[in-house]
Amino acid sequence: MRKNILLTGTLALALVFAACNSVRREEGRVYMPDMAYSRAYETYASTAALQEAGVHYNARPVEGTVARGAMAAYPFANDSVGYVRSAEVKNPLDVAAIDMTEAERIYLINCGICHGTKLDGNGPLWKGGDGPYTAAPRNLIGDPLALNMAEGTMFHSITYGKNLMGGYGSQLSSKQRWEIVAYIKLKQIEAGGGATAAAAPAGN
């Protein structure tokens, strides 16, 4: 009988422990803090202490420099003059050598959510007006404005953003942006797009 009491007690205790599955809001402790926490400044660590000490840390690359293996900087600024002049710029990549599966992958990750997997301007964020986005994304294979847009202008718009679209200069490298432009132009031709669109990649 004593055993029974013990058994009930343990069971009741187990029940109590199982019942309190509270949310863990605290990090917890570590064995050896000097081995767990970095002495050096890690990525995303606060630099406030440095600033207090008079050290100013700027994560941007030195102006005018080009990273090894990267493409030369895009020459035009984000203004109306730059937008007009962007039409002069040609795709510096060899379009025939672009891996279109990779270009499609980058397009689907970064552009597809608004402009749609079929480039018809009906991605999951718009869904024909049922999605949360408040403006219709451009139909890249049906809208004459997109069909007639020069590849340089397209690159300019992807880099800096246009109307409600944000700029992707911080998310995609120049090479990736040009690959996306080539991919869109290719899809426009496949969908029977305008002659101007066909002329662009055919140049190579």
Partner: protein, 424 residues
């Protein structure tokens, strides 16, 4: 004769209902045709209720001279010419920073249809019946309380019954005249002490070992973030790819926390949380999604009433709390796992697209890492579309040695002269 009459009657009813149907259709067509025109021509820049690239269209007939659709048509067909002699539209250009695109092929009928659609869409939508989510949440809580009360009651009843049983036994023994030696109280009973101490050591040992193993591990860590950002809404419902925001996971040691401008790519337009399900934090409090978006605007320095005046360079970083921490002596690279290893985000981070608040699913212990490294098959370069090309150089060496082009592989060939091999 009778059947003919009946048929005629049927026919007339049919015709009549068709007539009614056609009347109601022709009325609806106005707005429906307007919606089609609006979606294909206007929606890129205009929203019915919200400011976008251009002004919100709701109530446009009360503004300027737009009640006269001919004026509206003249403006839409040729904005530049119309604006030249009209100060109101000049003011619009100054406010929004750009002039409207001309739509020379839009007709007066189109304009009327679009206005009909706008008027219809501007009407407040009926409020859907609320409370379904609430009751589900509530019943869940009630259930656990109920179970607790029931088990407590059962426990008390069991204790009482045992006590009654022992008292009855004592009474019956007395009645039968059996005299038992004075019992030892149960806390001095050696068997009980032995059992209790064994249980204590087993249970205590288990808790100590568990606590010690848990030191430095953060499984289930789920801190309160500065903004209630729901991965369920973004990655789940709206199907945004993980790499849209955390793109550097492919190239860098870190899967970047997106900067404010990445949030603003979409939230410049999406200024309110309206179309998704109700949001709750882990404590069960309801979250106002729109208020959370406002917090983002405070960091970004963005004024929703003046979307075109936003200066991204004035944004302040959001200090998100890092959840997945490894000790300083462990090196982990996202690029190696995501690009070369082709590991899915969910393999380590769990069903992140279903999480309102993110929590650490894996314990990130050494055993956990080792286990995955034991079981995961390397995806070699099968062909040009599948697998990684990370080990292709070894395949080349293998073939070169086979064909006699090389006789041995030196450390230099496998990257031994890279500066970082020693100077990292």
């Amino acid at each position: 004769m009778m059947s003919q009459k009946a048929a005629l009657k049927h026919l007339s009813t049919l015709l009549f209902s068709l007539l009614i149907l056609s009347v109601s259709f022709s009325r609806a067509q106005d707005a429906a045709a307007g919606k089609a025109v609006f979606m294909s021509k206007c929606a890129s820049c205009h929203n019915v209720l919200k400011k976008a690239t251009g002004p919100a269209l709701a109530g446009l007939e009360e503004r300027h001279k737009w009640a006269d659709h001919k004026e509206l048509l003249a403006w839409i067909n040729n904005p530049a010419a119309y604006m030249a002699k009209d100060p109101y539209t000049q003011g619009l250009k100054a406010e929004y920073g750009s002039m409207m695109t001309a739509f020379p092929d839009v007709t007066l009928q189109d304009v009327s249809n679009v206005v009909a659609y706008v008027n219809e869409a501007a009407k407040p939508a009926p409020v859907p019946a609320a409370g379904a989510g609430d009751s589900a949440q509530g019943s869940d809580n009630q259930n656990s309380v109920l179970f607790g009360v029931i088990s407590l009651l059962l426990g008390v009843i069991a204790l009482i019954l045992m006590q009654v049983n022992s008292n009855l036994k004592k009474l019956s023994d007395q009645a039968e005249g059996v005299t038992l030696p004075e019992g030892i109280p149960f806390w001095r009973n050696k068997t009980n002490i032995a059992i209790l101490s064994i249980v204590f050591f087993v249970f205590g040992g288990y808790m100590v070992a568990k606590g010690a193993i848990g030191l430095g591990r953060q499984k289930d860590y789920q801190p309160v973030q500065p903004i209630y950002y729901s991965h369920k809404v973004h990655a789940g419902i709206n199907q945004i790819n993980c790499l849209y925001c955390h793109g550097s996971a492919e190239q860098s040691k870190h899967a970047a926390i997106p900067s404010v401008n990445t949030c603003m790519n979409c939230h410049k337009a999406i200024q309110a949380y309206e179309k998704g399900p109700k949001l709750f934090d882990e404590e069960g409090n309801e979250i106002d999604g729109t208020a959370e978006i406002q917090k983002l605007y405070a960091y970004a320095g963005f004024d929703p009433n003046n979307p075109n005046k936003w200066d991204p360079s004035m944004a302040k970083p959001i200090e998100w709390i890092k959840i997945h921490n490894l000790p300083d002596h462990v090196y982990f690279s996202h690029a190696q796992h995501v690009t070369a290893g082709k590991v899915q985000c969910q393999s380590c981070h769990g069903e992140i697209q279903a999480m309102g608040e993110v929590k650490q699913v894996s314990d990130l212990s050494m055993g956990w890492c080792i286990n995955c490294h034991r079981e995961t098959k390397v995806q070699f370069n099968y062909d040009s579309t599948k697998g990684n090309k990370f080990y292709s150089i070894y395949e080349k060496f293998h073939n070169d040695i086979k064909s006699g082009k090389m006789d041995s592989v030196t450390v230099k060939d496998i990257g031994g002269l890279e500066c970082q091999k020693c100077h990292y």
